[in-house]
Amino acid sequence: MDFLTPDSFAGFAAELAVAAGEGRPVRIIGGGSKPWAAPASDDALVLGTERFDWTVEHVPGDMTAVFAAGVPFARAQAELAVSGQRMALDPPLGLNDRATIGGVVATGDSGPLAHRYGTPRDQVLGLTVALSDGTIARSGSRVIKNVAGYDLPKLYAGSFGTLGGILAVGVRLRALPRATATILGGAADPDALAAAVAHLARAPLELEALDVAWRSGRGGVLAQVAGTVATRRADEVAFAMSDSGLGTIDIADEDSEFWERQRGLQRSDTRVVVLVTGPRGALPSVLRLADACDATMVGRAALGVSYLTVDPEQVAPLRAALPAGMHAVVLDRPGDVEIDTWGAVDSPSVGLMRAVKAQFDPAGVCNPGLMVGGI
């Protein structure tokens, strides 16, 4: 297994093309914070983006920035914070905050802010990508509004590097909120918790985040407000939580640790994290399923996105018990545990995905096997 870290985009594309010519599989890797997303075979070439560590452009007045893919996500956020700005993305960043911007986009990873701002596909404005035939292709733009050409950045975001290697990322920025506050409410019944979430999701509260946390038959709701009047708005949200039937309501002005914990529970060193998606109305079923599988659960309550941390042997029963119309994808797992990431997939759209893969990576060497259906 060779491990190369080219220092130029052209060098990266050239190495990719050589591997494609030899039919040699390539594992594209950023900070290596998601080892489960890149199990490399012995004959693979590992291509790292770690030397792509420069900020291409940041014009504060435009509230946009372009970073080379290997820039650590945390470093980029720190740089932006100097100008009072941020990317409205808060995925877990792994050990020593190793996750890179390119890796976050490639895996479509997100955190609690997805409630209001969506996932990388919603924040990325433009991408530069190396394809396996050695070409370097840009798509999107550096401006926040653009409909010229296909919106390929959305296709690459979350494609796990199976279409090519991301070299640079242009993102939309937001002003750092002057203040935030987090409102917490508790419940010990899945239906009561879900009813409260439904109430909060329908109210015009303009929440930054609306999360749930659940473990062994009890849990709660976490809501974040941000802005110039966060403290006063937090009182309104607390009233709404009280109306919605939640108990033990609390407001925290120093709230970062709550959200760090929520993010942290999207990863596990010793157990398996299963991402469950579906209608938000299925929340009570998901909470009961979590209890049945002895899972710790966190999730984006209004988005129908839940992360269940379970023991490896619970994955099969969890998948079997999943209500119709829901999906379970295995994310983080210990290195010695082998589990099918995607589970059985019979979606007719997978055929179309294969056609897309065949066009962008005809040699089939970019991160083979990492996408749904073995793509």
Partner: protein, 497 residues
Amino acid sequence: MSLEGSLRGVRQITYEPVEAEQLLADLRRICGDDHVVSDPHALSVYDSDGLRQYRQIPLAAVLPGSADEVVAVVRCCAASGVPFVARGAGTGLSGGALPHVGGVVIVLSRLRKIISVDLAEAVVVAEPGVTNLAISAAVGPSHVYPPDPSSQLVCTIGGNVAENAGGAHCFKYGFTTNYVVGLDVVLADGTLVELRRDRPGYDLIGAFVGSEGTLGIAVRIHLRVVPAAESVRTVVAFFDDVAAAADAVTSVISAAVVPAAVELMDALALRAAETAVPGGYRLDAGAALLVELDGPLLETAAGLEQLLELCLQGGARDVRVAAGVGEREALWATRKAAFPAMTQLSPACYLQDGVVPRSRLADVLEAIERLSAEYGLAVANVFHAGDGNLHPLVCYDPGVPGEGDRALELAGAILRECVARGGSITGEHGVGVDKSAFMSEMFSHDDLDSFARLRCAFDPAGLANPGKLIPTPRLCGERPGPYQQHPLEQSGLATRF
């Protein structure tokens, strides 16, 4: 018909001549005699979209009455190797729905059912012919569907998906692509695929939205809606010139105020609009900045204070806050009248759609002013300032020999100024046929080739709206004519951008 070009998928495709009568008979069998139009005179209704400079009479227009009929029609076209283009209300402004020689126009206006409204999930499922405004009407007053193109009373959701429609409020709320959570798509070979955001795999919905009809036809659309804002505050600030107004926009947005909409009109546009539809704007100002804040009452109240202060610091000579819904609607009515008002003042206008990074607004406006003087043609500026999305209106007289061509050159020069500043050739109108020649100003051959890869994956035969979005050489005699008012505008039903 042959399309030439060096990109994959659009390389030397030749459509075999078909037995037109047989195809028409098949289409009539599928949709019924009443829903197939083949008389050339009757077909003139479908010969263009909102960009009337480009016209083409197709072989036929069909109006399928169900998704199944769309599938059958597309299969028919595929079997005969006939190109097709889907059409909603025909309000597009880039010629995206321009018919093809010998091709079929698939008109989706009969597919106008809202299939379900689920406020618990905040999802509406609609057929493509449902109008944009009907979605908000179906979920109101508690919820709204945020993308709000100016043609929203008549433009359809299917067209919005094809063009990734924006609108005045997309600065805060995003575009169509941020709201589509599911699509049932008829591919160019007649296969029906279900795409859903919550299913694992590639984001094919993201790839499809904004594909201008070149990847297939969406026959069922799942849209996310959001709770309606608790309060709305609308402000108009008057400046001596557009540069000062543009700089004020940057200072407001940098100060963490997130307006729902930020619209700017220069003196020419302002006077035309206020004269045509009086809404309380000052006629003596050099520029008017319309800013709308929405959200929780506490937030908009605090934001309003900040906004007023920043506008005055930025040199606003007068600032007015709309006192109620009536005043607010009047301010917007004037703003939305800007384009039709200009077309009343000038024999013809060419509407451009370019984008620059926001900090380059003042700078690009200077360049436009310089170009306007150089070409001797007036240019009025109306734009979505928060997004840096310019809509310059190039005024000209088609009666003066050569002036139409000069207007087009000027409009093209403006786009080059946008691209030179790191911007885009289109913010919301799409590429269509109008801008395909400018794609290579913004993208390299390899970039364009990556677009062609996507098209090949979805439509290897190249039958879904060929010749749009990806550049191909312009055919002879395709010189665009002057701007003409769309019948919907004449009837007062729709306004532009």
